[in-house]
């Protein structure tokens, strides 16, 4: 199975994106998806190679013109269910399932 590269993006890549990353990690693990989740700040996010990006509602608008990979907007960073519902269809598509 292909390993998915995921980027969690916030303003500086150290605080909230880290929290988001942890929850994404949890969801990936629970779903049995092999994924590498990294954090990045909004300035460098667009030049990082990844399969999809998670970010907040506020940063979504600033990122969406800059990236060509799927961009997922998360309202509640701590909500595993929201993360799962929003990303699984995309991940399945990437994995060709």
């Amino acid at each position: 199975m292909k390993k998915i590269k995921i980027l969690a993006v916030c303003g500086f890549g150290v605080g909230s994106s880290m929290l988001l990353k942890m929850n994404v990690d949890d969801v990936m693990q629970a779903q049995g998806i092999r994924a590498e989740v990294e954090t990045a700040d909004i300035m460098t996010a667009s030049s990082v190679n990844a399969d999809l990006i998670f970010t907040s509602k506020e940063l979504y608008g600033q990122l969406k013109d800059k990236v060509t990979i799927p961009l997922i907007e998360i309202l509640n960073f701590m909500d595993h269910k929201e993360i799962e519902e929003k990303c699984m269809p995309i991940i399945r598509e990437i994995l060709g399932q």
Partner: protein
Amino acid sequence: MLFLLKERTSVSTKKIADVFGVSSRTIRYDLDLVEEWCAKNQATLVRSPGKGVRLESTVQRIQLEKQLRNLSPLDRILTEEERVRLILQELIASGKPMTLDHLSQRIQCSRNTVIKMMKIVRVRLEERNLELRIATGKGYQIFGNESVIRRLLFDLYAERVDWRKLAEFFTKKNQQIPSYLAQWFGDDEIDQVFSILMEAEEIFSHPMADVAFINLTIHILVAMERIRIGAEIELPNTQVSDTPELKIADWIEKKILANFGLEMGPNERETIAMHLLGAKMFRRIDELSENAVQTQDETKVWVEEIIRYFEEETGLQLMDDQQLQHSLTLHMKTAMNRFRRGRVAKNPYLLEIKNKYPFMFQMAKQSVQGLEKHLERTIGEDEIGYIALHLRAAYERNAGRGTKITALVICASGIATSEFLKMRLESLLPELTVIDTCSVQDYEIYKDRIHFVISTLDYELPGVDVIHVSPFLENAELMKIREHMIQAAKFRQISDMTAPSKSENGGKEIMLKDVLHADVVRLNVEANDWEAAIREAGILLVAQKSIEPAYIDNMITAIHDLGPYIVIMPHVAFAHARPDETVNESCMSVITLKEPVEFGSEANDPVSIVFAFAAETGTSHMKALQDLAKFLSKPENVTFLMECEDKDLALNKLLEY
């Protein structure tokens, strides 16, 4: 010819080609036609070697000009392709059936030629799901989806457009409207539509990329042409209700009605709105597609300049590094706008970049000297830092040093094959380190040291990519491995950036209990607004000297700049800013509010719990955040904290994880 008439001295073909935006070859070919025409109209085309051409005539220039104006574009030999296009254009423009006679007259060729052309026309139409119907006694007519017909018409026009010239025209208004456009739509119409869109851009602050702008102009001109003959467009599939684009479209529609007396209607409005929305997308495609580089020529030039400088200094061949070209172009495109406006994007890694990669930083600084001169501005260190990062990534990819990409060769069919494969790999991909060859069973020993596995067998391994190849390594397989290497290098770059540097914090992991204690927890705090709430949380950290007061301002500025994204879940704000010199140590505080405040977060307001967090560079604080994430992932914990009246109870709950 008009141009030649005005120019009384000799002009070179090169110059004429430049003026018309075509190749010199085309001009030479056209000049033959000009000569032919001259012979019939008491004029001569004088060719003087080394100087160029000039028109001489025995009659008045004015008279010649008149005769010229009567000339139609059909008055010359057309190629088959041109005829096909013209027929398509004629059929679409008429909107009614056209007879063979009528067509042959318009295209100025024999009925037989038209019949021959119609075969190609039919194929062209079928390619687009359009139908060519023949009604006896009436003639040919195109049937199909109106939006498809418009797209075809648009393409017919767009195909012949020299985008670069057109972009020049649209951006610098003083230039003449390219003749072919004027010929299709008329100067005045183009000019008016153009002005309407310019105004719309300004009124609604909805700037479009040049290509998108030109596209929309042509789309509207095409739409107007179609409305005039009574064609109606279908409602687009995706509707764009309530978008700002629809408001702009509405405004454009009113303007068109006022200027041209053309009634557009809701379907047209939706379509224009779709195009406006599409203009955004276009900018993106634009950035990626090599065919549409016109609009970013300037950026490209400077990106090349930076890469060239870097190449000279390092002796590496980097111009072929598509990834560097691409990522640096993307970066510079927005960066150039910042430079021009004198704005700076703060670089959170600046200190680290300067410490870790002083050589790259210096290099980046020198590589933009030309650009600085050109812009008459100094480019700040923050920006230099970003460029240095891109260069550093390319350096690692290309020099094969630093982030070394390692692979393991696994082979079940015996040592011989895997050794052979390893040798092939080493000679063909010297930048890849093959750490060993082994059997599937031994894989575990190496798994932490490799980026991926290369194998002659097609199977999967937990936690690692397996690239399946033949022992002889075909080209496609080599490409596949290279792709994996690039991916791995790129991703490593980021991990390295955020990885803890041992010298800074001794590799010590900070747990939540290390940062949260009674002094940094306060319950039922009074705060009037979100800024006050952040200050209340931040001041606890200032009191224990973990942060400088400026960090509090930084947290607030971040929200002003980037929005309330730090309200990470309902009722909880996680305020923080970039790690910099205002942070003395990784720390965290938490307050609960007596009265909740609004942060402006649509999804998660009102906020009752505010964390203030500061991190040193690196990931030493990971564990603490992990603990906190566990705590926050249970909604009942959040409720508990919100309602808790006892500080010790709250702290205990927080540290349970």
